[in-house]
Subunit: 345 residues, 4 copies
């Protein structure tokens, strides 16, 4: 009943990889989006079942194979890739050639320096032309580029949280870049739908631990964004941790501030950066950013404070929404000229 | 049946503040300690009940008032203060004058610079002579001093975890002191037995957040220890977080390494520091330090790694044991000339 | 923008007790309901703050005192009482006299036998005329009565879950009434917003226990409903338990079946009872009813199975929604002649 | 150092299946048992590693294959089978023929009626002679038989909890057998060390559900025990549920009481049954039985209450201890003429 709510034709959309946690969230958002008609969803594991059967969402759309999805894509205006990076690497160029808009939720087209793929993703990049064209879809930082994009590399969850907490400090030139540190913690859904003893209740409940220290694939992505914003190399150290919760990322950034920087400058930087942003909420300080407040929402909460020596800036997002699915739809809205938060709030 | 197991007379001991989480753990350890006879336990809330009734521990000792405890203390060799800092500030000098050994689990006698008390503890220090004499009881770092101590300031939970993860790097001179950052996360028992909506299940489950950013009372304590080890001021930033688990602290320290420092030097530093320590376990790297592995034990796990630019060093302890009660008994053993881990393993 | 969506004037509504867990859910639903204009919300603890400030919901409505709420009520078509039973007992008659519709979420007007109040609610009932008029608002069982009601006693959370799982068996006459047993488990939000050590994370996490065994105030309510459906006294035993989760109730009913009753009769009974119900979903069996599937939804899941000797029937609801707030709005819709699920899905 | 503490030669013992959750607990208990020398542990997955490496327990014993374990068993006095039922079915007779004592933690030798194995365990029983000889090792109910046993079928976790809560009522003849109902809930470790999406953190946290309703393999075991105690067939219905906790079982039994039965008779029944039991603690009532109080202990808590119509009796155990490993050692102590709780408290 919502279709054409804005007097426009519904965008026909498809999702490849619709049974992962992000894919399910994406399906949920697209089904209720007033200007989208979801026309196909693919899932190897759920072929033959309907969306309603497997997720309880109100849709009788059947899950189909990737091949069937690609065939159906020719009638689409936009296709979302919610599959592993290697799948995106293969499918991305194929879909791009069809002339439709692609929003890729994997990491396959995020790193402009193709040389980073072998060490961090364990594959050599085979689609460098598309890699160059791909636009990094963090709307609050790169909105203008996203508007004109045909191929959007949707940011990773940690990179979204980290970049949004640090960007205002870099844009206002308040910190010593050499001292930037990001520690972050993610709920278990961040690991995707792998069946592994590592993510069993017996292992996770009551535990907390770091993982992929110094080697996480989001490290070069965060460095790339921060370096771009700073106009200089940012030698970041980033340590992700696994939280005993289902959803959400809390990211804690610290840095030494430049001489003379105080509370006023820090607050001004965040007000300047996010005063008009519909999906970033500036809280009174870092302690007011709580994971539970942001889970199940498309928003990012941020809060920062300084004692005149260091600044601590904390952000929180739902890793499956602002860290994946809702940000993908935010990007789709921008590429299609729709209101940026349509279907998200 | 264990008394005199070492051919020595049992140490008569008492606990003031025995109904807090740390006080209960302390009671548990002292009751099973082969060379301790627990002679009194105080608790305002449990006066008139026995240890068995309130905790299930095998002792018919009754909880008594602080006044009754002080009277009973005259027959003791050692008294543990497991009460709030303001209580320790008042009771510490009184007990010290009786000539017995005092192990204070509060923060009242940890900070050598009395000027730090008003901003971080919200009281002016009124027992400066004792503050000067008090020995900071982190055995792995200051064992010699503890051996001769009559008044031990038992370290805080975060400071224990943070100092043990960073000390080897400082002792070996591997890091740029200006870049040290500690992020840590604690289970809910770290907040003590306050009844507060903040620590209700509805608030904590599924949440993660920082608290007392830049103002936590353990910040000057960590700085004091690290500065002492480094022989220079360490301008640390420390951000504590609240984990949705009952027990345990995981502390993640990062720093830039000096030129030429690699994996070999880092591993050597930890081997040198802890190779002979019975209660510190060096794990293969930071990702191998898991909170769940250390909870309910008196140990500290540590693991570090470097990529040649930064070092990440992670430690984990049970906040109520190595972060409080078992470390207090470790200190008692040292002051009494007993084997350091007696009664702990 | 939704107001008048059905070509009707918006119902002006108010909520007394809007800062409890159920009150917040009610506020959330009413704010997004297309045919409701929320005109006042009361909260003693939040007077002077807005809904947006305290809950993040998109409304600048201020919380006011009960007195101010009662004054504002004269312009309302419907008032929800989400306050303790004693408050409802006092406010219910006052509001009813104003000629508006009242939906009472407390237990104050649920038990037709006033003699049950002293033992189970610890007060004598002082509004017996209204108690007689009040309609028990379990729409799936008593829809016709609710349609004409001016004063609705909104059912308790456990009674909703229990009654919906057992009703089809009683209506089809399949079980021995003397053998009915209901065990149920609720998330912590069921206890309301009390600040109590009992509901602290340290007490609840990792624990499971029964409470108010044989004395819970929902026991006579469940018996009343089941006896009414059975046309005979049902001597039920009901044991509630506290689950270490935030939200949701799972209710497990067992009974001996009458001779000759098998799977076919049981399935038919549930199909007959709920085949056309929009908010009750019949699952293939009791093991297919999972708490996590129903939390945050206004639905009830039910599933039953028999081995020819016993029947096991399990239901699950969100205690704050179908067990409180969404059922209250479902009842409001019925009393106002609106589509029953308007604003709920 | 404890060996020979009682002036007896240490019992040489081995564990087959030492890497499951129960097997690890068993290893832990046997290593600290003063009269046991653990001589072998088997584990397919951990062959080549030591106990210390995989569990942190203080033992350099290597995990070996089952074949190596069987060879080593010839020097043992007692062998524990902590393997799946089918393995026990095969290994039980082999070990029994060697003349050593066998404590089998699986269900392979618990059901006296071999015809129950195909429907509930999905295999036909192939060792019926041994099945007849096997003694059901629930010491509090069948201590005399266990003392003389060479082959002990260690009870299941649910059957231990259920039988201990109901036995006093049956022994005192207080209840209508036709109305007995047991609902129980277990932590995730009850499912064993399967890697399954069902037991992933994402599935379990925040959830609660029944499983194997009317078909759980512990159903005939509970019926067998209760029928034996009652001297008549007990047509029990038993519904197990999965709790979002790691460890522990809480079992809630209900029944109608016979005319004239009141609180006094119920309390007397429990006092008579457990007044002298070292490992069963009678609490003041069902609400005083909390899962968290019994986890990590070898005890069973029980509490019961009646309103003159029904009785509710609740018990709690650690499923891996009293429900498996510690009960196995309790049985070993009995068969060996050692004090029953030696090594357990």
């Amino acid at each position: 009943m919502h279709i054409h709510a804005l007097g426009m034709q519904a965008l026909k959309a498809g999702v490849i990889g619709a049974s992962g946690y992000s894919g399910i969230e994406l399906t949920r958002i697209l089904l209720r989006h007033p200007n989208v008609a979801l026309v196909f969803v693919t899932s190897d594991r759920w072929v033959g079942h309907t969306v309603a059967e497997k997720t309880g969402l109100p849709s009788e759309l059947p899950y189909v194979s990737v091949e069937a999805g690609l065939a159906a894509a020719k009638d689409c205006r936009v296709v979302f890739l919610a599959a592993p990076a290697l799948s995106s690497l293969e499918l991305g160029p194929t879909l791009a050639e069809k002339g439709l808009t692609v929003i890729d939720l994997s990491g396959a087209f995020r790193l402009k320096d193709a040389a980073q793929y072998p060490p961090f993703y364990r594959f050599a990049h085979t689609a460098r032309a598309l890699l160059e064209q791909a636009v990094y879809g963090l709307p609050e930082l790169f909105r203008a580029q996203v508007r004109g994009a045909r191929f959007v590399a949707n940011p990773g969850c940690y990179p979204t949280a980290a970049a949004l907490s640090v960007a205002p400090l870099l844009e206002a030139g308040l910190v010593d870049l050499q001292t930037l540190v990001v520690n972050a913690a993610s709920g278990v859904s961040g690991a995707g739908r792998k069946v592994s003893e590592d993510f069993g209740f017996m292992e996770v409940d009551g535990d907390f631990r770091a993982y992929r220290t110094l080697t996480h694939q989001h490290l070069p992505e965060i460095r790339q964004t921060l370096s771009q914003l700073a106009g200089a190399e940012v030698p970041l150290v980033f340590t992700p941790h696994l939280l005993p919760v289902k959803r959400g990322i809390l990211s804690t950034a610290t840095a030494r501030v430049k001489p003379g920087v105080g509370t006023k400058q820090v607050q001004q930087a965040f007000a300047d950066a996010y005063g008009n942003e519909p999906l970033v909420v500036v809280r009174p300080g870092p302690d007011a950013v709580r994971l539970a407040d942001v889970v199940l929402t498309p928003k990012c909460l941020v809060g920062a404070a300084t004692d005149g020596a260091h600044v601590v800036s904390i952000s929180a997002i739902d890793n499956l929404l602002k860290g994946a699915a809702s940000q993908a739809v935010q990007n789709m809205n921008l590429t299609a000229g729709l209101p940026e938060t349509l279907g998200l709030l």
